[in-house]
Subunit: 589 residues, 2 copies
Amino acid sequence: MRRAPSNVLIESPIPFLAYRGRFQQVVLHQGRIERFFLDSLKKHSNPHIKVERGVIPDLLELDTSSAEDLEAYPIKLRLRHLSDEEATPAQGNSHSVGEDAPEDGLFRSNLAADDTDDLIRKARDGKQSETEIVRAKYVIGCDGAHSWTRRQLGFKMEGEQTDFIWGVLDIQPITDFPDIRMRCAIHSANSGSVMVIPRENKLVRLYIQLTEVNKDGGAVDRSTITPQMILKAAQKIMSPYTITYKYCDWWTAYQIGQRVGNNFSASERVFLAGDAVHTHSPKAGQGMNVSMQDCFNLGWKIAGVVNGTLQRSVLKTYQSERRRIAQDLIEFDHRFSRLFSGRPAKDAADEAGISMSEFKDAFVKGNMFASGIAVDYGSSSIVAKPGNSSDQGDGTDVASCRVVGKQELATEIKLGMRMPSFKVLNQSDARPWHFQERLNSDGRFRIVVFAGDVTDSAQMDRVQQLGKSLAAPDGVVRRFTPKDKKIDSVIDILTIHCGERQKVEMLDFPEIFHPFDEKSGWDYSKVFADAVSYHEADADGKAYEKYGVNRRRGCIVVTRPDQYVGYVGELEDVGEVGKYFDGVLMPVR
Amino acid sequence: MRRAPSNVLIESPIPFLAYRGRFQQVVLHQGRIERFFLDSLKKHSNPHIKVERGVIPDLLELDTSSAEDLEAYPIKLRLRHLSDEEATPAQGNSHSVGEDAPEDGLFRSNLAADDTDDLIRKARDGKQSETEIVRAKYVIGCDGAHSWTRRQLGFKMEGEQTDFIWGVLDIQPITDFPDIRMRCAIHSANSGSVMVIPRENKLVRLYIQLTEVNKDGGAVDRSTITPQMILKAAQKIMSPYTITYKYCDWWTAYQIGQRVGNNFSASERVFLAGDAVHTHSPKAGQGMNVSMQDCFNLGWKIAGVVNGTLQRSVLKTYQSERRRIAQDLIEFDHRFSRLFSGRPAKDAADEAGISMSEFKDAFVKGNMFASGIAVDYGSSSIVAKPGNSSDQGDGTDVASCRVVGKQELATEIKLGMRMPSFKVLNQSDARPWHFQERLNSDGRFRIVVFAGDVTDSAQMDRVQQLGKSLAAPDGVVRRFTPKDKKIDSVIDILTIHCGERQKVEMLDFPEIFHPFDEKSGWDYSKVFADAVSYHEADADGKAYEKYGVNRRRGCIVVTRPDQYVGYVGELEDVGEVGKYFDGVLMPVR
Ligand SMILES: Cc1cc2nc3c(=O)[nH]c(=O)nc-3n(C[C@H](O)[C@H](O)[C@H](O)COP(=O)(O)OP(=O)(O)OC[C@H]3O[C@@H](n4cnc5c(N)ncnc54)[C@H](O)[C@@H]3O)c2cc1C
Ligand SMILES: Cc1cc2nc3c(=O)[nH]c(=O)nc-3n(C[C@H](O)[C@H](O)[C@H](O)COP(=O)(O)OP(=O)(O)OC[C@H]3O[C@@H](n4cnc5c(N)ncnc54)[C@H](O)[C@@H]3O)c2cc1C
């Protein structure tokens, strides 16, 4: 907090204490995200996969009787290819006031009505659109808050629209407010609050609570909402500081809904993700993050089933994991919204007011949500946690795991949470890596061997024994890996030891830890040492400590393709690992 | 050093103790560098600037009488545009032996003869090539070791061709040598040495001294040099470890020349850079680095003169600075080559042998050269160092600076060396920056104000006074900045203070430290605090300490457009700064 006038509370950025991921928090413009996806699609996919635009479905049928048949295509979709003219939406009235303000800020805001049904009707009546029937194994509806897919399935959103209305301005501010380049919240005594999110190119995004409109709880009159009016609200909240702008890049206004879908899939064949199944206030910048995480959770599961690697039962965990997260998020959002809209406490004795420390706590929690670090999936076939799987999820009945992990062996690698990332050195070239960089989301499960201090010969014997079990012809790796595939194509083994790196050689480890290739030699990319780097201060030889793993004895950790922790056990627990995979992977025939 | 057999010495990677730059050392394939240049050219340049290929000059004339006339175009060049056929070189015999080995590894090695004159002759005789006359203000000849430009100017290379011949193999090695993924050198008792440079995609580059060929000091028989023969030499040196390969990406062999040009420019109009004026052994990976640094030194100087910002006399410093570096490098290279080719010492008593510690020292020094961090330019008009400028350069008579910097005020910001980089926080958004990121090579000089602890009001008074002097109508900034240009377009002012960041506001500083723009408001990108970051361990609030600047009193530092330090003084030394620029910049009329 800074030397601010007494009627304004400014919440400065919050140290990211609990942060254990690879990336630092940054604010990225949503508009750039689509570009990342398109580029990545181009780079990693079969070249004929491309995004088609101007296509809408107008019929969806699911044959539930063949839902469990791996060979079946139980979904029928009719797609309509719109002509350019049909696909170009009519924008609403212009509400521009500032000289440089863009045209209609409320276009496709949730204050405007949904136009999907209109589009379909027009396209059906018109002569121009072509139709196409697609038979699919799986369909994912990420068609936003008004989801047509959701409506076809007859699923409901539970929760309610609130009467909070927020305006958004993307401007280059001209102001004497000192923290304008900080992500912060300004909480006025009587005029509500402003959230400040600095962006690239001198832009700042302001979220401003509009107390002016809709005081009576009635319907909102869109025509009263203009950038000028939103600016005025901001000025009132931020006074005695002054703020104005010459350049406005974008603006909008919307009403907050806090709702979760009652169902995230139909027979684990048609799935819903993103705003189609949860909406909440955008204050903590969660919407897009949580939506992408939905798909990150779902993607590898569907791909694995389609490839024949994963059992179909794993698909049920999408709903148990993600619907629960949405429920938690909305509960958090309720609390957070109240903090924002409420009146700040005048002093410690003012109990009706909102205290700064409560606010700060909520902010930290929000950051944890946004980074995905707080996500803690419940017990299921893919998370070997004790306890009841339907209690720990959203209530869906998902199979439990056949084994229970030994959390005490890796106290900071929590079952059900993302594997934290610390820096370790490649054994062979001493280059530091954030360990997460080795946990590529390429559909593979991983066994991470914390080999302990392998300069101790008794410990090295345990490691050799582990290598032997893992490599056995009927062992856990070969049982699930097709003969014609590389040995690490389904389950990848990575090793981190904590013996003195200079006293250890990669070839000391069992061959399955660094498979040999006829043409290119040993694989040098899989064995790491927890050691101090010459170059990088954060590669400090304390990864074992930070992971909460005993340096002498080590442990093994199974990670899912999305880097969440499935199982933790002793080096001798290869049989348990086998049982874990028996409930998850398809055995090779 | 590792547990290696007794007849092999392995030099493991050297900690980069003295490193104070922004980047860590990495090995990049030279082939990728051209792509970076082309991409950057496209991004930053006028779209009609493009690289023309298949064009050779066959006439170069310089009118020395108009060399000092700023408006003149004293150079005449005739260019010949070759046809595709003429431009495609005939490759020599194939020496390929390994199954995957590429064709002719010796093509354009220095063991092959230069073909420039042939090309010119053929093009003149042929009917196909078109010619073009270009009149130029400046020409830079970076046409390699056989430089045609150098020959036209009649300049000489001084030094000699050595009889060391080296082979190079880029292979995916199959080996039990444990340090194959380390940059290291292997020094055998009697069979010479191998340098190991790990690369991307499992490739490793080996530099191997070929004792087999040319034993008698006679001319080299190219036909005896094959990849297989180079591999055999490596096997002998590395024994008892084994090494072989299935995949060879590239190979070559060359003879080491250690020579420096006697002249780097003709009348500061036609310049030579890169291999055209210095060649040395490639063992320390210097050639390309030093060549690029030549051009980095020269580029801003020519651009500044052409733009009318810089005085022409500055151009003389190209030779005094870069020829001296080349001389130093070759002296170092002599020593290094001897270390490589010599016999390792058997023990501490073996004085004729080469000791491990001597070797290690040389390796460290080599790294310093490669990173450019060791470069220390002598006194000149652009380096306000005490002492004689011709002694400190290559002997060229360059003007001395009109002032002498006060090195003691910033003991680690050495006059004549690159400004070291440490992390500081942006005052306004607390984001950590490697300070060098703010020293863009955009042709601008910078005044870096170490404002000290500005929460102390006496110190803040000094800073205000400095701001006033800098902003004065006849002050140092306006004297050299055209009226129609932004105030920071010739001299950019950056500030680092060390007061508690939360107690300071950017607007507390003089306006010239954060200029105001009508449309977009204050410039938030110029004032920094030496403070601890929430996020990054190396932004530790110790930049003043590391820069060797007194936290209470601060200082000012002038950096050149290439980030080398020109002047250091007190906050009150604005007059001295003015004198510095009087000898460097062109005053506005
Ligand atoms: C003002 C505002 C600011 C926000 N700021 C942030 C933020 O800072 N950070 C953050 O993480 N989130 C933010 N959000 C939330 C975020 O935008 C959403 O959560 C996110 O876009 C949801 O992604 P989605 O793919 O599920 O849905 P959408 O982004 O709504 O995408 C749905 C897509 O489906 C298409 N579609 C819809 N119906 C059909 C149909 N019948 N046929 C074919 N296509 C159809 C639509 O055209 C659209 O392209 C913000 C939201 C708002 C309103
Ligand atoms: C085997 C080997 C390995 C090396 N490894 C490294 C390394 O790891 N790191 C490193 O930093 N350096 C290395 N070097 C050195 C490095 O390659 C050179 O120092 C560097 O390429 C010099 O750059 P240059 O632009 O001055 O000359 P060059 O790269 O030789 O470029 C000269 C250019 O001019 C063109 N040209 C020549 N004559 C004419 C003419 N008359 N008309 C038109 N065009 C002409 C040529 O075609 C060529 O494109 C290595 C060198 C060798 C031989």
